[in-house]
C-alpha cells in the first residue's frame, strides 16, 4: 500500500504529495498476471480501435445528415471488419525506389509503439484477479507521463522514415511535416503537463489520479480540468496536433500531398499506419482523462453514493472508458466542424501562441503553488496576494500587448493606402503596375471615343456642342 492509502490522515493534512512514487501497488502482481493484464490491455485497445473507426464514420455521417456506413451488420457495426479484410487482401506494393528495410520498418514502428503508452494508463482501482489483488494498470513509474511523451517522440521516427524510405516527393514532404508537427506540438503539450505535475507533485499516473481525488464541498473532487483549465485547453489542442488529426492532419493532407507520408503504402502496411493513428488517438485521450478528468474515478454524484461502491474495482474501467470516449467524440466533432488549417498558420499557432502562453501559465501556476505551500511565508493572505500580483502582471501584459497591436495595426493601415494611379499606356504599350502602383480604371470605349476638347472655332449645329455639355454633366 502506498503512503497515501496507508496513512489517510497524512494525506489529509499534507496538501502537496511529496511522495512521487506511484500510488498503484504492484506488490501482489506476479509476472504471469502482468502477462494476462497486458494481453487484456491489447484486446481492449484493439476492440476500441475497431469500434472507433465505425463510431467516427457514423457520427460524422449524422453530423452531415446522412446515415454513414449501415450495410454490414446491425447499424453497420461490422464495417471495420470488412475494411480490415479488404486491406488484408489488397496487393502489397513496394515502390522500386524505396529503401526496403526502412519501408518495412516504418509501419511496424508506428503501430507497435502506439500500444506502449497504454501500459501506464490507470484504468481502474484494485481488483481481484486470479486470487491476487492488482490495480487495473499494467505498470507505473515515477516518470510515467514522460514515457508517453518519449514514445510519441520515437513514433515520429515511424512517420519520417515512412516518408523518406518511400523514395518519392509527396511522402517525403508529408513525413517532414509530420515530424515538425509532432516535435513542435510536443513542446506545448509538455508545458501544459508541467502545470499538472506542479499540482500533483508527481509524474506517476496513478499518483496524479489520486491527487485529483481531494474533495471540496459535497465531496466534489477537484479534477485538474478546473484549476488548470488553460492547460487543459492547450493539451486538447496539442493532442489533436500530435495525432495528426483534422484539422491538423497536414501530414496526410489529401488536397496537398496526395496521401502524405503513407502515399506509397498499401495493404496491411497502410493498415498499420491506420491502426497506429487510431491507437494514438486513444492514448492521448486516455492521458487527458488521467491528467485532467480524474482518471478512472466516478464523476461527482456517483463517487459518494452507495458509500463509494461505484468508485472502486471494476467500476473504474467503465468511468475511464466513458471519459476516454467523450474525448474521442470530441475528436470526431472537431473533424466534422473544422476545415484543415494552412501549414504556416498551424506552426504559428504552435510556436507563437501556445508555447509562449504556456510558459507564462506555468510560471503563474508555479507562483500559486509556492504560495499555497507556504514558500512565500505563512498567512492566509499570501495566496491572495500572489494571485493579485499575477493578475496585475497579466493586466499590464495585456495593456502593453494591446498598445503594440494597435500601433502595428495603424502602421499596416498606413501601408495599405491606395497608391498613385498610373497610366498603363503611358509609354505606348500596356505595362503591369509595379508594387505600390495602381492602374487607372478602364473607361468604357464609348466614353473614351468622345471628343473631350471643345473645337476652337465657332460651329453651327448642335452636334458639336452636345458632347461638350455631356462632358460637363459627366464631370459635374
Amino acid at each position: 500500500m502506498s503512503l497515501l492509502t496507508a496513512y489517510p490522515e497524512i494525506a489529509a493534512s499534507v496538501p502537496l504529495l511529496t511522495e512521487d512514487l506511484p500510488a498503484a501497488d504492484f506488490s501482489d502482481t506476479p509476472w504471469w498476471l502482468s502477462l494476462i493484464k497486458s494481453s487484456m490491455l491489447f484486446t481492449y485497445v484493439m476492440i476500441s480501435v475497431v469500434l472507433v473507426i465505425w463510431f467516427e464514420r457514423r457520427v460524422i455521417g449524422q453530423m452531415q445528415q446522412r446515415p454513414g456506413p449501415n450495410r454490414i451488420g446491425p447499424l453497420g457495426i461490422l464495417q471495420t471488419a470488412a475494411d480490415g479484410i479488404k486491406l488484408f487482401f489488397k496487393e502489397d506494393v513496394t515502390p522500386k525506389g524505396a529503401d526496403k528495410l526502412m519501408f518495412y520498418a516504418a509501419p511496424l514502428i508506428v503501430a507497435s509503439l502506439a500500444f506502449v503508452s497504454f501500459a501506464i494508463i490507470p484504468m481502474g482501482g484494485d481488483v481481484e484477479m486470479f486470487g491476487h489483488t492488482t490495480p487495473l494498470q499494467l505498470t507505473d513509474t515515477p516518470v510515467a507521463v514522460l514515457l508517453v511523451l518519449a514514445v510519441a517522440g520515437v513514433s515520429a521516427y515511424g512517420f519520417v522514415l515512412a516518408g523518406w524510405s518511400s523514395g518519392s516527393t509527396y511522402p517525403l514532404l508529408g513525413g517532414l511535416r509530420s515530424t515538425a508537427q509532432v516535435i513542435s506540438y510536443e513542446i506545448a503539450m509538455g508545458l501544459s503537463l508541467v502545470a499538472v505535475f506542479l499540482y500533483a507533485g508527481s509524474m506517476s499516473t496513478s499518483q496524479i489520479v489520486e491527487a485529483q481525488q481531494q474533495s471540496t464541498v459535497l465531496g466534489i473532487p477537484l479534477w485538474y480540468v478546473v484549476p488548470l483549465f488553460f492547460s487543459f485547453v492547450v493539451y486538447v489542442i496539442t493532442m489533436i496536433g500530435e495525432t495528426n488529426r483534422l484539422p491538423f492532419d497536414l501530414a496526410e493532407g489529401e488536397g496537398e500531398l496526395g496521401g502524405g507520408f503513407h502515399t506509397e503504402y498499401s495493404s496491411m502496411k497502410f493498415g498499420m499506419f491506420f491502426l497506429g493513428e487510431y491507437i494514438n488517438m486513444f492514448t492521448v485521450s486516455a492521458l487527458a482523462t488521467t491528467l485532467f478528468m480524474g482518471g478512472w474515478h466516478a464523476p461527482w454524484p456517483l463517487n459518494v453514493v452507495f458509500d463509494g461502491a461505484l468508485d472502486q474495482g471494476w467500476w473504474g474501467l467503465l468511468w475511464f472508458t466513458l471519459k476516454m470516449w467523450s474525448f474521442i467524440f470530441f475528436y470526431v466533432w472537431v473533424r466534422g466542424s473544422l476545415p484543415r488549417v494552412r501549414y504556416d498558420q498551424f506552426m504559428a499557432l504552435g510556436w507563437k501562441i501556445l508555447i509562449p502562453l504556456s510558459l507564462v501559465w506555468v510560471v503563474a501556476v508555479m507562483l500559486i503553488r509556492s504560495a499555497q505551500e507556504g514558500y512565500f511565508g505563512d498567512g492566509r493572505w499570501v495566496t491572495v496576494l500572489t494571485l493579485g500580483g499575477i493578475g496585475v502582471f497579466v493586466l499590464a501584459g495585456i495593456l502593453v500587448w494591446d498598445r503594440y497591436a494597435q500601433r502595428r495595426l495603424a502602421a499596416r493601415e498606413e501601408a495599405r493606402e491606395v497608391p498613385e494611379e498610373i497610366d498603363p499606356f503611358a509609354d505606348g504599350y500596356p505595362v503591369p503596375p509595379m508594387p505600390g502602383q495602381r492602374l487607372v480604371e478602364p473607361q468604357p470605349a464609348v466614353e473614351q471615343a468622345r471628343p473631350v476638347t471643345v473645337p476652337a472655332g465657332p460651329t453651327d449645329g448642335d452636334d458639336s456642342t452636345s458632347p461638350n455639355d455631356d462632358d460637363k454633366e459627366r464631370r459635374g
Binding site: M63, S337, E417, V440
Partner: protein, 231 residues
C-alpha cells in the same frame, strides 16, 4: 487618356479592402438581412460551427434506404415501356413502326406481319411480329408514346433497368407485353364474334367471349397433343 474622370474620393485616403464591420453593415441595411448577434453570439462566433454540426446530429436523416425501401415514383414517371392489350387479350400493336420512326435515339426496332385467320394477334390487318426496345439507347423521352396511334405503347413506372450485360437490355416483345388479366386469352385467336377492328377501338369489346375461350381451349389441347406425339 489624360482627361479621364477622377474618382470622387481621390483625395481621401481610401482603403483597398476595407473590412465591412458588421455594426456598420447593420446601419446601412436596416430593413433586411440577418439580426445582429448578441454579445454571447459574437463571443462564440468563431466556434459556432460546432453548434451547427452538433445540432445536425439530431436532425432527421433524409437518406432513402433505396434497395430495401422503395418509394413510389411520380405517377407520370417515364419508366419501362409496355405493349398493351385489348380487353380480350389481343395485342393493340399494329406494327406500324411509327414509334420506331419517332424515336430520337433509334432505340426501337419493329417488324410488322400480316394477321391470318389461323394466327390472329391483333384485331386489324397487321401486328407487330418483332418488337424490340434497346434500353441502352432509350432516353425515356416518351416520343414513341405520343407517336403510337393505337395506344399500344405506354410507359410504366418501373425504373430498375440495370444489368451487367448488354444483350439482356434489349427487351423483346414478350418482355414488353402487358401481362394477361384474368379474363384475357393468349393470342393468337380470332376476334370476338360479330365484331370487327373498328369495334375494338370504340370500346365495344369488354372481354373475351365464350367463342374465343373455346377456340383457345381447343388450340391448346391440340398443341399439347402435338407435343405428346412429338415426344
Amino acid at each position: 487618356m489624360a482627361d479621364h474622370t477622377e474618382p470622387e474620393n481621390a483625395h481621401e485616403p481610401a482603403r483597398r479592402d476595407e473590412p465591412a464591420s458588421p455594426a456598420r453593415r447593420g446601419d446601412v441595411d436596416p430593413a433586411g438581412g440577418k439580426k445582429e448577434p448578441g454579445v454571447l453570439g459574437q463571443l462564440f462566433a468563431p466556434v459556432a460551427g460546432f453548434g451547427v454540426t452538433f445540432a445536425t446530429m439530431f436532425r432527421k436523416v433524409p437518406t432513402q434506404e433505396y434497395p430495401e425501401e422503395k418509394r413510389p415514383t411520380a405517377t407520370r414517371y417515364h419508366g419501362r415501356h409496355q405493349l398493351n392489350r385489348h380487353p380480350d387479350g389481343l395485342e393493340k400493336c399494329v406494327g406500324c413502326e411509327l414509334c420506331a420512326w419517332a424515336c430520337p435515339a433509334d432505340a426501337i426496332y419493329v417488324e410488322g406481319a400480316d394477321n391470318t385467320d389461323e394466327a390472329r394477334f391483333s384485331p386489324g390487318e397487321r401486328y407487330g411480329r418483332v418488337y424490340q426496345i434497346n434500353y441502352l439507347r432509350c432516353i425515356f423521352c416518351g416520343l414513341c408514346i405520343e407517336a403510337c396511334p393505337t395506344r399500344a405503347l405506354t410507359m410504366t413506372n418501373e425504373y430498375e433497368l440495370a444489368d451487367s450485360e448488354r444483350a439482356p437490355l434489349i427487351y423483346e416483345k414478350h418482355q414488353l407485353l402487358a401481362p394477361l388479366r384474368p379474363d384475357m386469352l393468349t393470342p393468337p385467336f380470332p376476334m370476338a364474334e360479330g365484331m370487327e377492328e373498328r369495334d375494338y377501338y370504340q370500346g365495344k369489346v369488354t372481354g373475351s367471349t365464350q367463342g374465343q375461350q373455346d377456340y383457345v381451349e381447343a388450340r391448346d389441347a391440340e398443341r399439347e397433343a402435338d407435343a405428346e406425339v412429338g415426344s
